[in-house]
Symmetry: C2
Subunit: 325 residues, 2 copies
């Protein structure tokens, strides 16, 4: 159990999702004494709710730990113990807000990849005008091959089917232009490979702006480009809100009206909130692993937990066994 | 003379910048008859203004032309003729809204690179909370080496000095994490090279969100990643405005107030408008070449022309001769 905001945020997100989802049960891994203290001060007892079990994890993967160090030396960390619970079949999904690199390496080590998948991809949901776009990879594997991009295209297709019920999601390959022959050799080779695959609805190259345009349901790229595109977009959106807030501050009339408009603006804010899309899924492993943003608020953490529960109940993994071979 | 919006937009942007800048003169390359007709219908005569000269370019580079085709077969295109005017020293800067790939190839062919620069980089300005960030490369060279990234870091430094008067601009290298050793081998090698260079104020790796955060003044990356990060950010910002407009439509009270607030909102819009940052500079050539967005409005085109004029008057190129050796 990790996350930059500490265990209190995680605990309260868990309690709130347990309340809304009566069939869910959660195993929480972390510092038992700290968690018990928090429960007590909130007037709750662990034994009172059989759907929440706290497991003591004496160790923790730090954000600065190298993935290899974490794999070798953090055998009793909350991250590893949660993955082991998934591996043993005692859990249907694993959620972590910790060190991404360590989660990717431990996930591969403990769960193994699906047949036909060389490396997993981190898949995230981005908002579009009428729904959302699945982007993968956003950081699990920075150096890729055309064959791996094809595997990820199939995984993204499976994800869009399971989460959105989209029977034939359109797939695009992220590039610097839409014309064939554009961009690096790697992308041209991958384009040829995806074009020849009948299992996916491949629509050719797409550009950065297509991530938010609803042009396709699935966008495939390497983990380096995907990670930077995702964070650049978050940065641009954040700057817009800083500039809006600044502008309101400088114009007293807007400030006055803001009071009246607050309830309406709150609704708008929640529609635009990136937290409502929080939670990336580590796709291609033999188990559902969801990664929540390290700096998540309670709302973002709860959203990730709902995603983990939903994917854990779906047949994504068993279908994945067939999809990618 | 190109651009998706046609010559009318270019012409009216040129006329408006000529009015505000009494020392500027412009050579316009395009279809002479079409341009003369437009001037006449606007009640203007070319001979009436000695600061505007129209040159007939019988040919045009199409957006679908391959760069090699354009270089070989479009010798009388407006793009080539404008670059030749710069090459001959009869112009101080060249502005184009046409095919980027063709402009990059023709620019290299006609102007050559500065001593010590293997390939030029397309450098753009992004807004940040208190100023802006120079991002390069956003699409001139998709496959790079650590040595080229170092050359681009020096070019970006020169650009920030000339445009912002920043004596020691901070430089960051775009990556998937800030810790040393993260990301692909290429970026780690480039990190070592930049760290060893005393001519730049290198601050190590930065992430996608730093593009809009003001963490550093110059961000260096390859043309593939830079292009996608730029377009993804534009896509995210555009989606925010679509969602806001949608929300206003669904809430009549907001619609009513929008009427009252219009003048204030217009001011905000202009602060957020990406057009006000329009214009990327092809840095590293022996001449100032500015690229305007193909889909630019008159406002965006005028902004690019102001940038071209400003850089054409600066000592960017003569200083570049010394900076990068």
């Amino acid at each position: 159990m990790g996350g930059d905001l500490g265990p209190a945020v995680v605990l309260s997100a868990v309690l709130s999702v347990l309340r809304e989802d009566p069939l869910l049960s959660v195993d929480l891994f972390g510092d038992e004494h700290q968690l018990a203290g928090m429960m007590a001060s909130a007037g709750l007892s662990v034994s009172g709710d059989h759907r929440l079990t706290i497991h003591h994890a004496p160790d923790a993967v730090d954000m600065t730990d190298s993935p290899v160090h974490a794999l070798r030396h953090k055998k009793h960390s909350s991250m590893r113990m949660a993955l082991e619970r998934l591996q043993s079949g005692q859990a249907s999904a694993c959620l972590s807000a910790g060190n991404t690199g360590a989660l990717v390496l431990m996930g591969h080590h403990l769960l193994k990849t699906l047949p036909g998948v060389e490396r997993a991809a981190m898949c995230t949901l981005l908002p579009s005008p009428d729904g959302h776009t699945f982007l993968l990879d956003v950081g699990a594997t920075v150096e890729v091959t055309p064959a791996l991009l094809l595997q990820h295209a199939k995984l993204g297709t499976a994800m869009a089917r399971h989460l959105d019920g989209c029977t034939r999601p359109r797939v695009g390959l992220l590039n610097v232009g839409v014309e064939a022959g554009k961009g690096p050799m790697l992308m041209c080779d991958a384009d040829a490979l995806l074009r020849a695959c009948a299992d996916i609805e491949y629509r050719g190259f797409v550009e950065g702006n297509d991530l938010f345009a609803g042009t396709v349901e699935v966008v495939v790229t390497d983990g380096f480009t995907g990670n930077i595109a995702l964070k650049a977009s978050e940065g641009a959106a954040r700057l817009v809100s800083i500039k809006v807030a600044d502008y309101v501050r400088r114009h007293p009339l807007l400030g006055l009206l803001a009071g009246i408009l607050r309830p309406l603006l709150k609704g708008l804010k929640s529609e635009l909130d990136p937290e409502s899309f929080n939670g990336a899924c580590l796709l291609g492993l033999q188990g559902v692993v969801v990664k929540s943003h390290g700096a998540s608020s309670e709302r973002g953490m709860a959203q990730s937990l709902r995603l983990a529960a939903r994917l854990g109940r779906s047949s994504l993994i068993s279908d994945g066994m067939k999809v990618v071979v």
